[in-house]
């Protein structure tokens, strides 16, 4: 006999404003099998949870339906409460009266009726629930961190310092990421390299960290605690063990005119190169797409030059395999190029540059050794214009979001310019100044007040070249929309921060979800900001959305602590909502006929055919078997099974049919 309790939450007024909660509770009490029903202001609060616990004990309930917010929000909360009262947590189901009813419908009878229907649906489901026990799986205590920017570095160090093995994979020849490109950092104006490079070195020397640069993830299989990662280590064409990093090869390489990625195209590099002086590891790689030997078949100058004989032109990509228990994605972001803006010259004007390029100009290690000189003729610009929100917050450009870091770095850029070119004029076109953060607003005020940066609230409609000047046409909206033209020497566009070009591909490889801009989706926007929807995979930094250094570091430490938490036990308890193939006493054994279609359909290779033997050990059948460690509970196999021999706990056919029937037959 079902002894079900129904608990209706008002969610303050979030639900009760449109749904007559008392009526729902009253109607629920009339449902067959419902022993107890009550409504309450905040069911998720302590008193609310106690209400459930006490009712379970007092009425000896064997099923609970909580009608509240989305189960994606509080299902664990209420299931825990049930467990604490001694009821198996899987005997608790959630009716979604907030997101699916009260927030999307107007107040009225029909809305309350829908709430009642949903409660009835879950009551009927619970009747068909059965107690489930969590599944335990072993955990490999080794983490894979993808991306060697500040986020990846921080996460790796935190995890490694907790005593766990880390595999850190970086796509470029050196770790460091965008932070290594920056000149100074806001709001302190301390040198980016100075604070970053010690961390980079620490990573390289850390006994628990295996650093693999110039490498990418080839594939990731498995599941939380038990991933198998394949890493493609691209051929660097050098023997890293022999190479001393002397750099002689890079001086001899005849191919010197390659735009340097590190300098954002403002400087050049050779085909065999170390991306920047402080690179970690500080050993060169050969860019096969540029090297004369690889493109034309001759040269080998580096090979002849190398005193350590470390050049290996026949080196091939290597595939390395690792068992890991958790993955941190710290693959960072990118900025739009100037060619994204037809109205700003489509990238045709050399002196219209991105913020990241300006960082390189302002950097002491940059192509101009820190002097602000314009790329076209090397002149020091007397008038410089910074354009905020270039692309960001612009639906017409397909980028509705705020890139978040630009307001601050523009203030920094303008300041750096003024510090270096005292007589120069700096203008900033902005929409709003978003300077939320410790010491941030003060920083911007300093730029305006102390360094006399001229902030103009308005958008720039066009930039064109005339007589060697860049004419910046805009409007000052604080002056009644007065059109403004500035004949600048250089323009810096704070171009939108966007996802890495390969972000989507990687997301699909590791099966995490991502938003329409290809930023990775966190499991919950507020409460699970570093988790993904895929268990065991975590996020750090701007692969999730553009963010600045302190935020990235905080997030990386957050992700690391999640990994450390996961690694704190050698076993992990998993949700038992997985597929099961029926087994019965002889002579049936199972109704599965072993056709194997579920085996091919399973995305996790979790199903295999096994021999079923009688007591004497003779094989009587061949039938499917689901590996509980591998099954993720998608249920694709269930829909395939013709004989209905496979079902999924928590979403059994019986439960779902009961739900449908209850939903559509309101009497």
């Amino acid at each position: 006999m079902s002894r079900i309790g129904v608990f209706i939450c008002h969610c303050g007024e979030n639900i009760s404003a449109t749904v007559d909660c008392e009526r729902v509770a009253r109607e629920a009490s009339l449902m067959e099998g419902v022993l107890y029903s009550i409504d309450y202001k905040y069911m998720c609060s302590d008193p609310g949870q106690n209400l459930i616990k006490e009712a379970i004990k007092e009425h000896n309930l064997n099923g609970v339906v909580v009608a509240a917010c989305s189960p994606r929000m509080h299902e664990p909360t209420f299931r825990n409460a049930c467990a604490e009262a001694g009821l198996n947590p899987y005997m608790c189901e959630i009716a979604n009266l907030r997101e699916h009813v009260s927030w999307v419908h107007e107040k009225g009878d029909a809305t309350t009726q829908k709430a009642i229907d949903l409660v009835r649906m879950l009551v009927e489901k619970v009747k068909n629930n059965k107690p489930l026990l969590p599944i335990t799986v072993p955990v490999t205590r080794r983490a894979l961190v993808l991306g060697g920017g500040i986020g990846g570095i921080q996460a790796s160090l935190d995890i490694a310092n907790a005593g766990h093995q880390v595999i850190l994979v970086e796509r470029d020849p050196s770790i460091g990421g965008h932070m290594s490109q920056l000149s100074e950092t806001f709001p302190t104006l301390d040198c980016s390299q100075c604070i970053l490079t010690p961390r980079m070195v620490e990573v390289a020397r850390h006994p628990n960290i295996t650093l693999i640069t110039y490498a990418e993830l080839e594939s990731l299989e498995g599941f939380i605690g038990n991933f198998k990662a394949k890493i493609r280590k691209k051929a660097k064409s050098i023997d890293e063990k022999l190479c001393t990093g002397c750099g002689l090869c890079t001086t001899k390489c005849p191919n010197k005119k390659i735009p340097s990625e590190f300098n954002e195209g403002l400087g050049t590099r050779t085909a065999i190169y170390i991306p920047f002086p402080q690179a970690v590891p500080n050993k060169p790689v050969i860019d096969k797409t540029q090297c004369t030997y690889y493109t034309k078949g001759k040269c080998r100058l580096c090979e002849k030059t190398c005193p350590a004989q470390a050049i290996r032109l026949d080196q091939e990509d290597e595939i390395l395999e690792f068992d890991v228990g958790a993955v941190v994605l710290a693959t960072g972001f990118n900025v739009k190029g100037t060619d994204f803006f037809p109205e700003y010259g489509y990238g045709n004007y050399q002196d219209v540059i991105t913020g990241l390029q300006f960082e390189r100009l302002a950097s002491a290690s940059g192509p101009t050794l820190g002097e602000i000189r314009r790329p076209s003729d090397g002149k020091i610009p007397e008038k410089i214009v910074f354009v905020a929100c270039a692309g960001s917050r612009d639906p017409a450009k397909g980028i509705e979001y705020c890139s978040k870091i630009c307001c601050m770095y523009i203030a920094k850029h303008a300041m750096l310019y003024k510090h270096k070119v005292h007589q120069g004029n700096a203008y900033v076109f902005y929409m709003d100044i978003r300077a939320g953060g410790k010491m941030y607003e003060e920083f911007v005020r300093r730029a305006i007040e102390e360094d006399d940066v001229k902030y103009i609230r308005g958008r720039v409609s066009r930039i064109y070249e005339r007589n060697g000047k860049l004419i910046v046409k805009g409007a000052d909206t604080l002056m009644g929309g007065k059109p403004i033209e500035i004949d600048a020497d250089m323009v810096v566009l704070a171009t939108a921060g966007v996802a890495s070009p390969k972000a989507e591909e990687l997301a699909q490889k590791v099966h995490v979800s991502y938003d329409q801009h290809n930023f990775y989706a966190e499991a919950h926007p507020k409460l699970k900001p570093v988790e993904t929807n895929t268990a065991g995979i975590f996020l750090a930094g701007s692969c999730q959305a553009p963010k600045d250094i302190p935020e990235t570091v905080a997030m990386a430490s957050g992700a690391a602590s999640k990994v450390i938490g996961l690694f704190s036990n050698s076993e992990l308890k998993r949700d038992p909502s997985i597929a099961v193939v029926n087994r019965m006493p002889p002579p049936t054994y199972t109704t599965c006929v072993g056709c194997g279609l579920c085996v091919t359909a399973c995305p996790y290779q979790a199903i295999q055919l096994e021999d079923i033997k009688d007591r004497k050990g003779n094989v009587v059948k061949r039938a499917a078997y689901v590996n509980p460690g591998l099954c993720q509970g998608c249920g694709t196999c269930v829909a395939f099974c013709r004989s209905k021999s496979i079902d999924i706990e928590g979403y059994t056919s019986q439960q779902i049919v009961a739900e449908i029937s209850a939903l559509l037959n309101d009497e």
């Binding site: 009339l30 067959e32 019965m584 002579p587 049936t588 029937s661 559509l664 037959n665 009497e667």
Partner: protein
Amino acid sequence: MPTVETYKISPVSLEKLFYQLLKEDRKIYAPVRRNDQVVFDLVTRYEEICTDFIQTAASPKNLIFPRYENLFSYKKGKDGVEIQQFNPDSIPEIVIWGLRPCDAAGFKVLKSLFNWDYKDEIFNTRLNKTTIIGFSCNQCDEYCFCTSVGGNPGNTTGSDLLITKAGEAGYLVEAVTEKGKGVIERSDSLFESSDNIRKEEFLADVPVMFTPDLLKEKLEKVFESEIWQQQSIRCLGCGACTYICPICACFDIQDEAHGKKGTRIRCWDSCGFSLFTQHASGHNPRMNQAQRWRQRVMHKYVYMPERIHEIGCTGCGRCSRACPVDMNILDHLKSILKS
């Protein structure tokens, strides 16, 4: 046992009789051609009726023992279950027109079956509200064997009226039951005296292969024989033979529920299905098709004669005709007798 009254009716009057019955607000089911088969269906025009056939694809048993029928409907409430019984008054008066004597004889067996230990009200009401007008056979084929199981092509058993085509000029009409006599009384102007028509002259010649007693005696001895396995190895285990049989009457009871409301339904089942005897535990007392085949044969020719004194087969030959793998019952019975 009431005496049989005989009359003669002209082809024109026979048609009039049909329309007379229709006027009496009875639904008439008769053999018609549909989808390359002769089947029983509702008929409103005399010319639709098919007469040139050996046997219909399925027997008309579904008209009195339907494929599925509502026994009662229910509604569950917090305070218990409300039941609404099936109302036998809703059953209409019908006429089955033009069925073969073997099918009519089948209804007599069904009647015995449904009144053996328990009087089945729904079945009896349906049968009582049905007027059975049989037509004697003037042709047969190699599947027919009514004469070996106690019947014959002009058998009056089970019919209320039996009509025999006596040449081109007219039909011999035998009023077998009070219900049949009532039909004649209500339209007596259509009937003439029978003029001593010799019915036998107009009947098909169905050879006698064996007697039921001989068969029963033999069957009782071969229960453990290999022959069941040999015969049934080809059987696919479908229910075609049982469902088109005029006598097979096994049924299943099912609840069909929609939310808290539902109906309890009686629907056909077949001993040919492996699930027919399967227990909830998975154990199946008739674990293979040979046992199921044996059951079907034994039930018809041994158990039913013992229990209800009727042979469970009228020799209509339908099962042989319908079988997808040509399990010919006559062949099989003959080979059992030979063994």
